[in-house]
């Protein structure tokens, strides 16, 4: 009995650890998007701010990256879904002996590293370009074109896998039935096979878009004049990041959660309707007391969806009226005060030191080991002001405030290395 409960507890602990490992970074990152310091961090909470969102939407490069990502995404979705569908149709119709070989060939791009695909796309189309005697800014060396082509080589394979799974459940008798009723092959395809494939096509399209959106290692070789969002982010991070990137991450996380919940709720609702219809055929449709079960009852996804939607509205709503200026000003003021106190302390210490030096000099030699005898840093003040809120904050904001602190130059580390600092504790 005891073992059992112990096991349960450890399972819960494990789950908690697991999920915090999975979701922790996302949560922290989301929090940093709303904190006012210029470096993304969650820990010393300063002010609730939305300025990083407006900073994000004023960042030309990020916006341009998003635009390019969407362009590439749309192109990739179109190309790879149609290639995937063609491949899937081939696969189900091809001569059985060749099927295994064909499958392997079609699946291979998934196994090839993206970097290789990127390089080979670049090299191949460059050759083609030269073969046609075109110059370097022709259509064939256009970044958008190359990126779409490069990404599609392997994303089309993903799409094909999704589509084949659905196609295998297709009864070719349906196409025959359509033909038998007078449809042409094109009509049979459009009116019977395509509607059947629609859900799989939608999944494949979503999959393709996401794969395209997040792709970096193929794109990095092919983007040319059209850096996508991932490329822009990677370049930005090299020069240090701001919470604007957290804000972007937060938006993406929110959109993803929203889409997933919406999808889940939609599926649930469909199931409910189907179940209702089914039971209705048994219990007679017209008997009056038949009613659709409430959309929200027994549909947790829908409930969560509604809650998230309301929270979003609340946040956006308050964002328009809330002004963090006052808070930021307060924090600044507080920091200024703190700094002042520190400066005072420093001055005090320096004065003490100077006095003591004078005394020591007067006292002459013998007491030299005084410095060595100083005790080891007593943890508390060991790291000095590294983590003090004010330490980093003021680098750019107010040069004037920094001025008084300058004397020590090593202001970032407080006076750790000043042997006398310890004695003042």
């Amino acid at each position: 009995m005891k073992n059992f409960s112990l096991m349960r507890i450890s399972i819960w602990v494990y789950l908690a650890l697991f999920f915090s490992y999975l979701l922790g970074p996302l949560v922290i990152m989301s929090v940093t998007a709303f904190n006012s310091p210029g470096f993304p961090r969650a820990a010393p909470w300063e002010c609730l701010t939305f300025e990083w969102f407006s900073a994000l939407f004023q960042d030309e490069r990020i916006l341009n990256g998003i635009k390019n990502s969407i362009l590439v995404g749309v192109g990739t979705v179109t190309l790879s879904v149609s290639m995937g569908l063609a491949g899937a149709l081939m696969l189900t119709q091809i001569w059985p002996k060749l099927r295994a070989t064909y499958y392997t060939i079609i699946i291979a791009p998934i196994l090839i590293p993206g970097v290789v695909i990127g390089i080979s796309t670049l090299v191949f189309w460059d050759r083609v370009n030269r073969m046609f005697g075109l110059d370097a800014d022709s259509f064939l060396s256009n970044g958008l074109f190359l990126t779409i082509i490069g990404q599609s080589t392997f994303i089309a394979s993903y799409c094909m896998l999704v589509l084949v799974a659905r196609l295998q459940r297709y009864d070719t008798g349906l196409t025959e039935a359509a033909l038998d009723l007078g449809a042409t092959h094109a009509q049979a395809f459009r009116k019977v096979l395509l509607p059947f494939m629609r859900p799989a096509i939608a999944s494949a399209a979503v999959l393709a878009f996401l794969a395209s959106f997040e792709n970096y290692n193929t794109t990095t070789f092919t983007f040319g004049e059209y850096p996508t969002l991932t490329i822009e982010l990677a370049q930005k991070v090299r020069y240090g990041i701001t919470p604007a990137i957290s804000a972007l991450a937060f938006i993406i996380v929110l959109l993803t959660v929203f889409a997933a919940l919406f999808n889940e709720a939609h599926i649930r609702r469909k199931e409910l309707v189907a179940a209702a219809r089914k039971s209705a055929t048994v219990e007679e449709l017209g008997s009056g007391n038949f009613r659709l079960p409430g959309f929200l009852s027994s549909n947790t996804a829908a409930v969560v969806l509604v809650v998230v939607a309301m929270m979003t509205i609340a946040v956006v709503g308050s964002a328009t009226v809330y002004s963090p200026q006052q808070c930021i000003a307060d924090v600044k003021e507080q920091k200024r005060m703190e700094t002042e106190v520190r400066i005072q302390e420093l001055r005090q210490r320096r004065a003490d030191e100077a006095a003591r030096r004078a005394a020591e000099q007067a006292d002459q030699a013998e007491q030299e080991p005084a410095v060595e005898a100083a005790p080891k840093p007593s943890n508390n003040s060991g790291f000095g002001g590294v983590f003090a809120p004010g330490a980093l904050q003021d680098d750019g904001a107010d040069a004037s405030e920094e001025e008084p602190e300058k004397p020590g130059n090593d202001s970032g580390f407080g006076s750790v290395f000043d042997p006398n600092a310890l004695q003042s504790e």
């Binding site: 008798g173 025959e176 039935a177 359509a178 033909l179 038998d180 007078g182 055929t281």
Partner: protein, 370 residues
């Protein structure tokens, strides 16, 4: 009512690689007929139907519909509509859209289609169910929707591939008469495929009995039942007892056969097989269970059979007696229940009598294994 459009198969061969699925089929189907292909599973019935509807190009020979050779004409251009073995209703379309698919193809307006769908729904007794999806219908309802969908295309020939095989017995019997009635009403040619001899007999004007790609006999139900031309047809259509032996004597339309177990027995020659049996030939003699009556035990003669009773069973309308037969097979006797008393004769010898006109002698051949 028009005379309908006939279908002719001329020396039709269909091969899959080396495998011959249909061999030398020659069939004339009259316009407006209800024609059945009857045969066991895998004998090539569906294959013939696919050749008629155009999904399969014959390896040799011709398919003529209304006198026109169909060579090179695709399924969407032939005046046929096929009801598939599994119905193949379009799962994502509502019932009325399913039914009027052939009109949609031709670009008919939704209003026209709806109107036609309602008419057909009335005909198949599914009034007001047009907005359901096929998955929401019962088996028999789906069946009728499939028929309505095929009829909506206004074919000259309706091809039905075992459409009732998936239904339970009651519904099957009901649908039989319904199909027959629809056929009479629309007056078009129905080509029906089945492995159920009862179905074929009750519905058809004419039947072709098939065995492993070969058509054994074509005729109306009565002819096939009473005058089977091959041992296969005799044993596949209805129940039959077989007595193997050798022809002792042929006299006009009657034959004396020396059977392996039951002595010399007389039988008549089936219509259409005259002159085939010669003295000394191996022969098979067929007598149906209901053709026997009881005779005093031990009676000798050329139309009496004496054997040991192995099993008795009461079936309601008949009292069935099983007796030791030829080649390990039992002889089945079905005595009509007319209120007489049945005493058990389990384990005893019994003697049966039959009328010579009810026994048919044929050259020995392959029997149906069922």
């Amino acid at each position: 009512m028009s005379a309908g459009v006939g279908v002719n198969l001329e020396d039709l061969w269909i091969k899959f690689g080396d495998f011959v699925a249909v061999r030398e089929a020659n069939v004339n189907i009259n316009g407006g007929d209800f024609f059945s292909f009857l045969g066991p599973s895998g004998c090539g019935k569906t294959t013939i139907l696919r050749a008629v509807s155009g999904f399969l190009e014959p390896s040799q020979g011709n398919v003529l519909i209304g006198g026109n050779n169909m060579k090179g004409i695709g399924p969407n251009k032939r005046p046929t509509a096929l009801i598939f073995q599994n119905l193949a209703l379009f799962p994502l379309m509502k019932v009325w859209e399913n039914i009027t698919f052939s009109m949609e193809i031709k670009g008919a307006s939704a209003k026209e289609r709806r109107k036609r769908a309602d008419e057909l729904l009335d005909m198949i007794a599914l009034t007001g169910q047009g907005d359901k999806l096929p998955a929401e219908l019962s088996g028999g309802q789906k069946q009728r929707v499939a028929i309505a969908r095929a009829l909506c295309a206004e074919p000259d020939v309706l091809l039905l591939d075992e459409p009732l095989s998936a239904l339970d017995l009651k519904l099957r019997q009901h649908m039989r008469s319904e199909l027959r009635e629809i056929q009479k009403r629309v007056g078009i040619t129905f080509i029906y495929i089945t492995h159920d001899q009862g179905e074929a007999l009750t519905m058809s004007d004419n039947i072709a009995v098939m065995r492993a790609g070969v058509i054994d006999q074509i005729g109306d139900g009565k002819t096939i039942y009473n005058d089977p031309m091959t041992p296969f047809a005799a044993s596949f259509v209805g129940e039959n007892n077989v007595f193997r032996g050798r022809v002792k004597q042929v006299s006009g339309n009657e034959v004396m056969v020396t059977t392996n177990r039951s002595g010399d027995l007389m039988a008549r020659v089936a219509n259409g097989t005259e002159g085939r049996l010669k003295e000394g030939d191996e022969a098979m003699l067929f007598i149906r269970p209901e053709a026997f009556s009881l005779a005093p035990v031990g009676t000798q003669g050329d139309h009496f059979v004496t054997a040991q009773v192995t099993k008795e069973e009461f079936e309601g309308n008949t009292f069935n007696i099983f007796m030791e037969g030829d080649g390990g097979k039992e002889i089945k006797v079905a005595l009509p229940n007319l209120g007489q008393s049945f005493e058990s004769h389990q384990g005893e010898a019994m003697t049966l009598e039959y009328q010579v006109r009810n026994a048919v002698a044929l050259p020995a051949g392959v029997l149906a294994t069922e």
